[in-house]
């Protein structure tokens, strides 16, 4: 029986066909595997380390403007937020984003001149705002395990100065803001 010998062109065509087929197979598997790795990594990091939040409203302006997407670091067990941290916490069914002004044991008072005093020291840059009236009536000592939080925009923030809002249990804190991811121009601007 005579053996069939393919021509160079036929060999070339076949070679390309096999190469394309293998390439497609490799790409499909690669995409599948990397998607699985990405999903697993995303799930792991989300559950243990970071969560995203979209800022809404003027309360934290200009540090976190409305519409910004911020990355929040979850707290380790036993870790507590420090004074100056911007924290994401749940209050009822709603989320809040405020800066920690005082922690458990600290004394907070508002002077008649409109200065906010924390442990006897006036809060720098405090300009006062619409919620001061509540606090003026009742200077307070922050209970242990709780946080006294303020929005950076004192005039437009509803926060711990309001008796209805009150102090926030530290255990309700879901994370501490680490950086802004969006808008892009904030990426190069260190979070304040």
């Amino acid at each position: 029986m005579e053996q069939y010998l393919p021509t160079d062109k036929e060999l070339l065509r076949e070679m390309r066909r096999v190469r394309r087929k293998n390439k497609r197979k490799r790409l499909a598997w690669g995409l599948l595997i990397w998607s699985a790795i990405a999903a697993a990594a995303g799930w792991f990091v989300f559950n243990r380390y970071y969560t995203l939040a979209v800022v809404q409203g003027p309360g934290m302006s200009p540090a976190a403007e409305s519409g910004s997407v911020v990355l929040c670091r979850r707290l380790e067990t036993g870790q507590k937020p420090k004074q100056g941290d911007i924290v994401l916490f749940g209050q009822g069914k709603e989320w809040q984003l405020k800066r920690v002004a005082a922690v458990g044991g600290d004394q907070v008072a508002l002077s008649s001149k409109g200065n906010l005093w924390i442990n006897g020291a006036a809060l720098k840059d405090y300009t006062g705002g619409g919620m001061d009236a509540d606090l003026l009536q009742s200077p307070l000592t922050v209970p242990e395990g709780e946080l006294f939080v303020l929005g950076d925009n004192y005039a437009l923030s509803v926060d711990s100065r309001s008796s209805a809002f009150g102090t926030v249990p530290a255990e309700d804190v879901a994370g501490v803001v680490r950086c802004t991811l969006w808008p892009l121009y904030k990426l190069s601007n260190p979070f304040r």
Partner: protein, 282 residues
């Protein structure tokens, strides 16, 4: 060769479409980033203003409003500013954060908004109906302009503001919050009838836009429920978080795959004496 040309054409087409779609977004981001230093300087300067300084600005703007009400439309052309700015306008629902320049400033509408000539300045006092206006977007230069691509959105999306949306003004004399109560054709300089004991703000997007928004001043502590509702961050659903956090890993994986493909050794070879071997090697 034919296949290569087709793929190249498809690639160019996809890139062109992507560029057309994404240009306004990134260009607007760029335009806003150019305004940031100016707005940050303004905010830093406002923080250092004394109570008397703020009261002085408010008094001057109030006096201007009286002149405007008496028919002197030019009185508001050059009010007192801080670092050249009268303030900052923010409408979160449409992603607007723009500087407010005096109406008399040259090219003010290229980058921000200005008071409407003949209208009151936003002092937040009862019975005042202030007006601000901005451009309906700024076209890109040259070919981009012919293609109707916007280099900066400015107040292009003002028509998308809905009743209940919040409007924020960061002014030297104190920040103000307005809640949208009406949209559409509402042009008049006086407060709505029977509502003279409130403060109002009208915003328009001028030429070609014709969108108008009317907001009512919200004050604390009376309006704390409205403010509290508008000041709550949103935490995306778990799967969105996972997708956003995992996507950089996927991107790295795709780049690695592309590099592996690029430097992969060819395993299929024709016999060495083949006439076309050299072409294939190439």
């Amino acid at each position: 060769m034919k296949g290569f040309l087709i793929r190249l054409a498809v690639l160019i087409l996809v890139l062109a479409v992507l560029g057309y779609l994404l240009y306004p977004v990134f260009s607007d981001q760029y335009a806003q980033s150019q305004l940031i230093p100016q707005m940050e300087r303004y905010q830093a300067q406002v923080k250092t203003l004394s109570a008397q300084g703020k009261a002085g600005i408010l008094a001057e703007w109030t006096a201007i409003n009286k002149k405007v009400a008496a028919g002197d439309a030019d009185a508001a052309a050059q009010p007192q500013t801080v670092n050249g700015l009268m303030g900052i306008l923010e409408i979160p629902s449409i992603g607007v954060r723009l500087p407010i320049y005096p109406a008399g400033m040259e090219n003010a509408l290229q980058n921000g908004v200005t008071p409407i000539p003949g209208w009151a300045l936003p002092t937040g006092q009862k019975g005042v109906r202030a007006g601000l206006t901005g451009a309906n977007g700024r076209l890109g230069e040259g070919e981009l302009g012919y293609m109707n691509l916007l280099a900066a959105q400015l107040l292009h999306r003002l028509g998308q503001v809905k009743t209940g949306d919040m409007i924020y003004l960061y002014l030297p004399a104190g920040d103000q919050v307005y809640q949208t109560v009406a949209t559409g054709a509402i042009g008049q300089t006086a407060p709505p009838e029977g509502e003279e004991n409130e403060a109002w703000l009208t915003i328009t997007n001028g030429e070609g836009g014709n969108a108008e928004v009317l907001g009512r001043l919200v004050t604390l502590p009376e309006g704390k429920d409205i403010l509290a509702r508008s000041d709550q961050p949103r935490v995306p659903a778990d799967w969105v978080n996972v997708l956003c956090i995992g996507s950089p890993v996927l991107l790295v994986g795709l780049i690695l795959m592309a590099l592996v493909e690029l430097f992969r050794r060819r395993h299929y070879r024709l016999p060495a004496d083949s006439k076309i071997s050299k072409n294939i090697e190439g």
